[in-house]
């Protein structure tokens, strides 16, 4: 077992022993019992991960467990997880042993305690802000969104600093809901400087509709020694656009934030320089090892030739021995240099956040419709709705569920098609949408198509 793993395990064990700090300790027994069995089952893996990983992945596990709770509408639980994650993010790691170890050439970066990239840290603030918004706590909601903006200032390029226009827009929304229209106007203006397509609210607007689609951007390591941290989009989903149904009204959503864009525009960082330093060290060690190996071979060969010719060859033997030692030592140094970038990432983040504004009616049960890039409706699902206590604004949210490539035109008739997206990726267009009017028919149609495909596949196999 590499020593860094031993260090990480001991660090994790040490942290796990601090039960007061674990994710399990966020809940007392009674609170846990209030959760539905389904959510308990969903959360258990993260609590188990936290027991195993300890402080090293506590923030990451809290982020992911928070996402699960949030999507289910269990906001009190989500708040606990996200607050814990935020506490970890806000902690200044000065003289921290794990952080110091991660800078060592012989310990991988991933041994440090996870705090996430700026886009991940910002999303913690976003979710906390939305939770506060849902209960009408506009002060703290604003603090959450501003925290998100602050994290987004870590980008190296000024162009991409504080460019999460949705956060600015949501700050404006909190003022709007408080009745502070002047402050709201200032914030709308700033948000619309980034995104001119963000709408100004109509008088009486009191409903914020949020939907998330797709999957998180993925981190991966590249470069000769895997020292470069890079990003790619998560598996692309058919659901590229959304609209919201509030009563009989359809409100088209706006794709407000692209998390892959946010992840990939951070630019240079101090830790990237540390990794580059490690890679440079390894490159040098490998070069010395290669040169040493060559010298050893040549010297050993020369020594043998000298001995064949009657000389003792002792000088060349010594050179070969010294070069051999240098080779071995350099190779050991090189092989033990941990250059790989830390690719841990928040896996259950969405790819895109969509929003719209509307007006709530007493009987309205908002739904979100997911649409393909060509504007055809794919599915719809209910949103959770929170009216913010006695405050005047309400919030509806849904995480659009992907159905593993299968879809159903649920209540297709109620949705009007959306405009085709510019630059729509043709691979994301559902070319064989079943022509059906409800979910049951759609499923039956899909089964029929699958049978036909299987049947034709079998036939073609038989022909061959």
């Amino acid at each position: 077992m590499p020593c860094w793993r031993l260090v990480a395990l001991v660090l994790a064990g040490a942290s796990a022993a601090q039960a007061a700090d674990s994710l399990r300790a966020l809940f007392d027994g009674d609170e846990w019992a209030t959760l539905t069995p389904a959510l308990q089952t969903e959360l258990l893996p993260w609590l188990g991960n936290d027991d195993r990983d300890g402080a090293r992945n506590r923030v990451l596990n809290a982020m992911e467990a928070g996402s699960v709770s949030f999507a289910r509408g269990e906001l009190a639980f989500a708040e606990k997880f996200f607050s814990r994650a935020q506490a970890g993010i806000e902690t200044i790691y000065a003289d921290d042993p794990a952080a110091q170890a991660a800078r060592s050439k012989f310990v991988p970066e991933s041994s440090k305690e996870f705090k996430g990239d700026p886009y991940e840290r910002a999303m913690v603030g976003y979710y906390l802000g939305v939770i506060d918004l849902s209960r009408g706590d506009y002060d703290n909601a604003r603090a959450g969104f501003r925290f998100a903006q602050l994290q987004d200032t870590m980008s190296a390029s000024e162009t991409y600093q504080d460019d999460m226009a949705l956060m600015q827009y949501l700050v404006a929304w909190t003022y709007w809901c408080e009745g502070s229209e002047l402050s709201a106007q200032e914030e709308w203006t700033r948000a619309r400087q980034r995104r001119a397509d963000f709408p100004l609210p109509e008088r009486g607007a009191n409903l914020l509709l949020l939907a998330e689609t797709g999957r998180a951007p993925i981190k991966f390591s590249a470069g000769e020694y895997k020292e470069l941290l890079q990003y790619r989009t998560g598996p692309l989903a058919l659901q590229q656009q959304v609209a919201f149904a509030v009563g009989a009204q359809q409100i088209n959503g706006i794709a407000a934030e692209d998390l892959y864009f946010q992840a990939s525009t951070r630019g240079g960082s101090a830790v990237a320089n540390i990794r580059e330093g490690k890679a440079s060290f390894r490159r040098t060690a490998d070069t010395i090892a290669n040169v040493g190996s060559t010298v050893t071979n040549v010297a050993a060969g020369t020594s043998i030739l000298q001995q064949v010719n009657g000389d003792s060859g002792s000088q060349m033997t010594k050179v070969a021995a010294v070069a051999g030692v240098v080779t071995i030592v350099s190779a050991v140094f090189g092989n033990n240099t941990e250059t790989q970038a830390d690719t841990r990432y928040w896996r259950n983040l969405p790819a895109t956040i969509h929003f719209a504004l509307g007006s709530i009616s007493p009987e309205a049960k908002p739904e979100v419709g997911a649409f393909a890039a060509d504007g055809k409706v794919l599915q719809s699902q209910a949103m959770w709705l929170r009216s913010g206590g006695s405050k005047k604004c309400a919030l509806a949210y849904a995480r659009v569920q992907e159905r593993d490539g299968q879809w159903a035109q649920h209540k297709a008739a109620q949705w009007q098609a959306l405009p085709r997206l510019k630059n729509a990726d043709s691979s994301l267009l559902p070319t064989n949408l079943p022509e059906a009017t409800d979910e049951g028919d759609a499923l039956m149609e899909m089964v029929r198509q699958m049978r036909q495909t299987t049947s034709s596949g079998n036939n073609s196999g038989a022909t061959k």
Partner: protein, 206 residues
């Protein structure tokens, strides 16, 4: 030669060895609320809440206009009008409750505190008394709930900055408090507390 090889091997083992000793596990302990905790950032922490509330209590107690009134002034002191305009989510009751409770204890009756957040609860109880469901208690009935003379308003604001070159972060936090006359809207007392914290995260987080 043999010795040199052994030394090289040992040096290598030391280099690839443990980079630092892991921290020992630590049992849960009580800590002084005035002390700086081990988990620190640039935000408001317990010691700040203690300091700010103590400072405001002392200043209010020294205010002759309030403390030397013939009749004890009635004050509403809750978080309803204490605004958080910073980047840190915070339970504002932590600040305002400590301020009210310490002030109430120190004022020894020279100030009275009206709980507006309990108004609904009190109304329900008053109705039960008047409906004869319960008796009138020992203190008797009043015509109405107590009106207030002053109300606390305030604001928590922050200014965050981050050095792009060094990664150092700083946060200036300002907490302002005012007592507003509930008839004339005159501000009869005001004070503020400000602090600035800065820190530099480890390079692996920048």
């Amino acid at each position: 030669m043999k010795t040199k090889l052994m030394l090289l091997a040992m040096a290598n083992i030391m280099l690839i060895g443990c980079a630092s000793a892991p921290p020992k596990s630590k049992a849960v302990t009580y800590q002084d609320v005035r002390s700086q905790g081990q988990v620190t950032g640039v935000g408001v922490e317990s010691q700040d809440i203690v300091t700010v509330s103590d400072t405001m209590v002392r200043d209010l107690l020294a205010d002759a206009g309030l403390m030397k009134s013939e009749r004890a002034p009635r004050i509403i002191m809750d978080a309803e009008y204490f605004k958080n305009e910073g980047t840190q989510r915070i339970n504002k009751n932590l600040i305002v409750d400590r301020l009210r409770i310490n002030l109430q204890r120190a004022a020894k009756g020279k100030l009275q505190f009206v709980s507006r957040e309990s108004a609904d609860m009190v109304n329900t109880e008053r109705q039960l008394k008047r409906d004869g469901v319960t008796d009138s208690g020992t203190a008797g009935l009043t015509k109405a709930q107590a009106g207030a003379d002053y109300r606390l308003v305030g604001r928590l604001s922050t200014l965050d900055s981050r050095s792009q070159s060094s990664g150092e972060v700083e946060r200036y936090t300002q907490m302002s408090f005012e007592l507003i006359d509930l008839e004339s809207s005159v501000s009869v007392w005001a004070n503020q507390y400000e602090m600035k914290k800065g820190g530099l995260d480890d390079a692996v987080y920048r």
